[in-house]
Subunit: 328 residues, 2 copies
């Protein structure tokens, strides 16, 4: 049985392998090759907390993954992170526990970053350069790191806006130390008007991005809205888009960025698609350079499976290379 | 974060504390003080395996528990146990992972044994002495150990019948080495006819125990039937009982020992009760010494919570006593 701590997991991250694995996982899900049971949920209203259990299996994979992820919203007041998490990998042929990844939520942040990068790369214009990153949390940095890697042959520029100027500057500093130059701005409207790519990563409960700020040909990847009541884009902007793609359409229409426009009757299910179908070529991606395209990502268990497998594969490869055959 | 292996867990078992904790957990569940979401499930038909995820929280408890339990039915052919399991204890106030119990299914066996002992003690006649144990698997031994402890002031005698005489003798040998005398027999009918208490622990898919073998005043605790198609008692025996009690009535009527009689219209929901209500005194238990009473146990997440907490409490107490304050 393998037990990996967060630092050990971070040392095993390979963004290229992660991008490939998450892309293949999206395709498997859209092709019906993944078993994804309903997400388990338990709430702790007195503690302002809840816990989600996501699990699933991709046909042919040697492992299946169970992810337990909690959010307790009073934690910051006692110096703890709101989010926590652990992933378990079990053998899909014997049921034995193969690995415990004590990632403390890091792998969820990472697979969300990889998913955003894959969606953005798949749908933005080939000549897109200017990336507007909306939000100043962990996910803003993760999206930038992953997109830069996913589009490493494209000279992207990143400008970050956050409700907190201080936090935005901190994220920019962290990325600068990693060799990724990021500008910051306090002018959200101008940032959106000049962007080729807009990525939203906030927990906003009302639209931040107005439709008339978004020019033709812009691609938007919406990450933040993943629960009822959350919303980052004006519904008219969602309705106006030439392509609406979700990682999992059921979730997006129920409680993701598309849900408000869907509930208002501004869009229908048939006018939306799934990312896996774009990636596999079953459905066309961007068809017109002047289209606004929107990808809404609410998170799918196949991403968790893919990222856990990537970490475990990297560990095995490293052991193979060093000749250090630790107990597995 | 606490990580306990199976041997470490076994060394921390305290049957008295476990009996008390599981009894209180049943009462909490019946009084609506427990959150028990639907059981998660994923199947692996190609490997003849499946995995259940049981989780829940008892109001006021500092922890909640997630149990992942798998059954892969080809495992014995490669020398592995069919069942595997791990329990995670997380803080109900911060969501942080507090403990991983690598029990390999042992705690499920134990809490099932404790639940059976609690039900048997609550419903058998005060003068019951002769216990017929039906089945020769791990659970037969567990029921005997736990019942002996639960009724330690009563001079119970145990006689065991199993489809495999060899395995029955092995279980009796193991218990003899633990100081628990157990007879074996190959005559199931005579065993049932002479018993005050019958405990069934087999995976049988057709009735093993006939109604006319069971005398007035007998108590039966049925453990084996926990999934559609499994059945140990004749439906007419279930229908004839003066008291029918389940740990969780919904489960028992859907896929437990009561389900066949219920589906056939031989019993109705109103004629059954829940164990927690008997234990709390809300519902009367045995009312007549000549009644046949039946307890059907299919397993509830509150048992998992109770047993995990018992192990973690025992660990803390032991550290306190030895003065060895290891990292928690």
């Amino acid at each position: 049985m393998i037990l990996l701590s967060r630092p050990e997991i971070e040392a095993l991250v390979d963004l290229d392998a992660g991008l490939l694995a998450v892309e293949q996982a999206y395709i498997a899900a859209s092709q019906g090759r993944a078993t994804i049971p309903p997400v388990g949920y338990i709430a702790f209203p007195e503690a302002e907390g809840d816990c989600h259990i996501k699990y699933g299996h991709i046909a042919g994979d040697p492992i299946f993954v169970v992810k337990i992820a909690s959010g307790f919203y009073r934690n910051p007041s006692i110096g703890l992170s709101t989010s926590n998490g652990v992933m378990l990998a079990l053998s899909a042929t014997t049921g034995q526990l193969e690995a415990i990844l004590l990632d403390e939520g890091f792998l969820t942040d990472l697979r969300t970053g990889l998913g955003g990068a894959i969606a953005t790369r798949a749908l933005c214009r080939p000549d897109a350069r200017r990336v507007a990153m909306i939000g100043s949390g962990i996910q803003a940095g993760m999206q930038i790191r992953c997109l830069r890697r996913a589009m490493k042959d494209t000279p992207l520029t990143f400008t970050l806006w956050g409700r907190s100027q201080k936090r935005a500057a901190e994220i920019a500093d962290i990325l600068a130390r990693e060799g990724i130059p990021v500008e910051t701005t306090d002018d959200l409207e101008s940032l959106c008007r000049s962007a080729d790519i807009i990525i939203t990563t906030t927990p906003s409960r009302e639209p931040l991005i107005r439709g008339d700020w978004v020019g033709p040909g812009t691609h938007i990847t919406a990450i933040g809205a993943d629960a009822p009541g959350k919303q980052e884009l004006e519904p008219s902007l969602v309705a106006h888009a030439g392509r609406r793609i979700a990682d999992r359409l059921d979730q997006s229409l129920a409680h993701g960025e598309f849900s408000t426009a869907f509930a208002a009757g501004l869009i229908d299910r048939e006018s939306c698609g799934e990312l896996g179908d774009i990636l596999s070529g079953t459905m066309a991606g961007r068809e017109n350079p002047n289209d606004i395209t929107i990808a809404d990502l609410t998170g799918v268990a196949v991403q968790d499976i893919a990222i856990a497998r990537t970490i475990l594969d990297a560990r095995r490869d490293r052991l193979d290379k060093t000749g250090a055959y630790l107990s597995t």
